[in-house]
Symmetry: D2
Subunit: 140 residues, 4 copies
């Protein structure tokens, strides 16, 4: 089963729907099970100690899960996050992009669950790991 939206279409969707933040994110790859979304780290994502803030990492995980789900069900659905649990394990370097690696665990009619691991680009260590649930509104 092919995806409903490819990286270019997801990027165009971000531009239209999230004009405030779309420049923060790069849709690197997406398929039926996984995605890779990068955060272009800039000044306002940083915290003392020259590291990326927790809310920035949360926001990246949230966008990655959202785009992975939309890639499967198309742009029309108004999916909303209902739950996120995130573990912060290592401090990101401030001078590298951080990348969310999403994995679709479940795509049901009403709920979708995605696992996300965040890493600095080019570094295999997991900085943060999250599990997110999205509620998918009924068609109609």
């Amino acid at each position: 089963m092919a995806v409903q939206m490819n990286p270019d279409q997801l990027t165009q969707f971000l531009v239209e729907v999230f004009p405030q933040v779309h420049e923060d994110f790069d849709v690197m790859a997406v398929d039926e099970q996984t995605c890779e979304i990068a955060l272009n780290v800039s000044e306002r994502h940083l915290r003392p100690g020259n590291t990326v803030s927790g809310p920035s990492m949360f926001g990246l995980a949230d966008v990655a899960a959202y785009l992975l789900i939309l890639a499967q069900i198309g742009p029309k659905a108004l999916a909303v996050t209902t739950n996120c649990s995130i573990d912060f394990m290592r401090k990101p370097a401030a001078d590298k992009r951080i990348v969310a690696h999403g994995e679709l665990l479940k795509l049901g009619r009403a709920l979708a669950v995605v696992s996300v691991k965040i890493k600095s680009e080019g570094d295999p260590r997991v900085l943060a790991a999250a599990q997110l649930t999205y509620s998918i509104p009924p068609k109609g």
Copy 2:
């Protein structure tokens, strides 16, 4: 046991340590067990549908837990979030401040746990509820 930092001291701490974001937050109240921290909702916190974004609510919960812990242990500690689980239940109105009501569940030597409920100002319904763990570095 009195708090180590009152609302004015916590506000001053935010100004110094988080210059990018301190204007977003108002420290309304803090004591040995609880705190109330408001998010002054502005354009960049909003999402389509005229609601406050998930990362903004996450950021508010995170700051509220942080300040509640610092109020107990003082400004010298470099506490970091290790885990957050958050349930999003209702969409905030965009034209009201949202307020985090923090409750200290545990203040140990190494770990502190805080429960946070987020509500729109003047509305008793819980918009989002989070539990956060902070790691407190050893003294010395």
Copy 3:
């Protein structure tokens, strides 16, 4: 709005539906927003160090959330847990009952969210705190 099931009715429901475990639990109180459910600690709930096991506390939180929801919607609904996040903060004493204090945060058509704090009977300190989401199947 009155509850659909009182403590006696919830207890009777447990006897019928969970014959393996109903004797573990006492339904102490329930109303439109809260419940109190006790775990009668016995040998198989214990762990080395004379404390109550994590899975026993998880099970208590899960039953408390379930009964609090059923009290509102009646026994016919086949609600299932979709998410639980639980923080373990203090070791329970093995010689006291532990009590789950549930609070209904949201009762929607499709999802319900409950916060649970677990304490030893007669001790105000929180041993564990959980947030649980239940999926409520559509009527049919």
Copy 4:
């Protein structure tokens, strides 16, 4: 870096330390990053609808994380669970073993984080996914 305990040693450790439950679990495999632990499903793990209970799956995830950590640090450490977030996605069949696939995300001096996916034996679909944090007491 080799593990400190192999499957036989972990099994022997379970026999000694958890006499009530050791027969429930089979240590199938363990290395420096991963483990596979099976739950031998029996009557008391079941729920109406002929499925495995949530607390049984939680207990399996908890044991799997514990054994994966002990395999790295040896049997002397008294590690305790401080947090678990678990998503339940599909109902397990009652007539198959369920297997926890653990992955070590972080092994720090004070905290370890493990991701666990639970599947029915021979079925690739994820039934439940958890992230657990253990506190590792200081040496000495």
